[in-house]
């Protein structure tokens, strides 16, 4: 039966958080029940004040095999990390 239900990704906004964070996934026949399932599976201990669900199929993701071309070029560009600058004392803590 579970194989007939699509997979949903669940995002919960916590008591003190501004952002919805990915907490996991579950199976449900439609969006409304996915939210109810998420309520039952992921907010049992008062974790959240808001729930988003999205069909896993609808998420476009980068491919792990493209990791090299996507991310490695950034490794050699240390100048993108602003760690070289002398910060005047007057500026204080940054």
């Amino acid at each position: 039966m579970s194989s007939e239900w699509p997979l949903w990704e669940v995002f919960i906004r916590g008591q003190h958080g501004l952002n919805h964070r990915h907490v996991g996934s579950l199976h449900a026949p439609d969006a409304e029940l996915a939210i109810k399932h998420a309520r039952d599976v992921y907010t049992r201990r008062n974790e959240g004040v808001s729930i988003w669900v999205v069909k896993s199929n609808d998420i476009a993701a980068s491919s792990p095999s493209e990791k090299g071309p996507l991310f490695e070029p950034a490794n050699s560009k240390v100048y993108r990390h602003p760690t070289f600058y002398d910060i005047p004392d007057d500026v204080g803590h940054m």
Partner: protein, 249 residues
């Protein structure tokens, strides 16, 4: 006040027995999500039981606790409706039983929020939040399974046909109810029927299910005359306290 004690036993025994029935699904539900959801509802109901039976023990004034009332009474002293002791059957039957109960439960709790007894009103207000979610969930599932595949529809209709004759008992008035009504503690059970119909009928219609025409009602739960199923439930639920009296952990 005996009538109040009776009311509290009815409320607490309904939630206790249905809570136990739902707990039997733990580890057996068709999908993980439903397994957890049923366990949550079961725990909600057992939590409500602690409040109702706890107050029942106080009202009775013989020093019995919620645990004493739950684990040390025999079947004839239980006041739950026969509906909640019905066997779980398949998942569809469990859901249909839950839906028919939830609709009554919400209306009963809404009425008790207005009770002249402050403690009753407080417990009802707390329980109503949980019951409202239970009803929302069970309504959704009844619609989806009723208006689902041929097989799910067949199972839901069979469950409705089987359980319908156990719903009438929820709305029967008796001498106890007159006393409760006069004291402003709780309205007569029959007064909840129109609101219950107004919840149940549209959901069944949307689910393409048809309730039987008959108003025949099995009854006896409130007098302690139960079906044989309650005995089996108690045998399992009470075993530990009966075999090892006063054991705690």
């Amino acid at each position: 006040m005996t009538a109040l004690f009776e009311l509290l036993l009815r409320m607490g025994d309904n939630t206790l027995i249905l809570g136990h029935r739902l707990s039997e699904w733990c580890g057996h539900a068709p999908v993980l999500e439903e397994d957890i959801a049923l366990a949550n509802i079961s725990l909600d109901l057992i939590g409500q039981t602690q409040l109702w039976l706890g107050l029942a023990g106080e009202v009775e004034g013989k020093g019995r606790t919620a645990d004493n009332l739950a684990y040390l009474r025999d079947a004839a002293e239980f006041r739950n409706a026969l509906l909640v002791e019905r066997p779980n059957g398949d998942f569809g039957a469990t859901l249909m039983r839950q839906f028919l109960f939830d609709a009554w439960h919400c209306e009963q709790l809404k009425a008790l929020v207005e009770s002249s007894k402050a403690r009753v009103a407080e417990i009802a207000a707390k329980a109503l939040k949980e019951a409202t979610y239970h009803l929302e969930r069970s309504s959704d599932l009844v619609v989806r399974l009723g208006d689902g595949t041929d097989e799910s529809r067949r199972r839901m209709q069979a469950a409705l046909d089987e359980l319908w004759s156990y719903t009438g008992e929820l709305f029967l008035d008796g001498p106890t109810d007159d006393a409760l009504d006069e004291a402003g503690v709780a309205p007569p059970p029959s007064s909840l029927r129109p609101a219950w119909d107004a919840i149940v009928q549209p959901v069944l219609a949307e689910a393409t299910l048809k309730a039987p025409e008959s108003r025949f009602a099995h009854k006896g739960g409130r007098r302690g005359v139960h079906t044989e199923h309650l005995g089996y439930i108690l045998a399992q639920m009470q075993f530990l306290q009966r075999a090892y009296p006063n054991s705690i952990w």
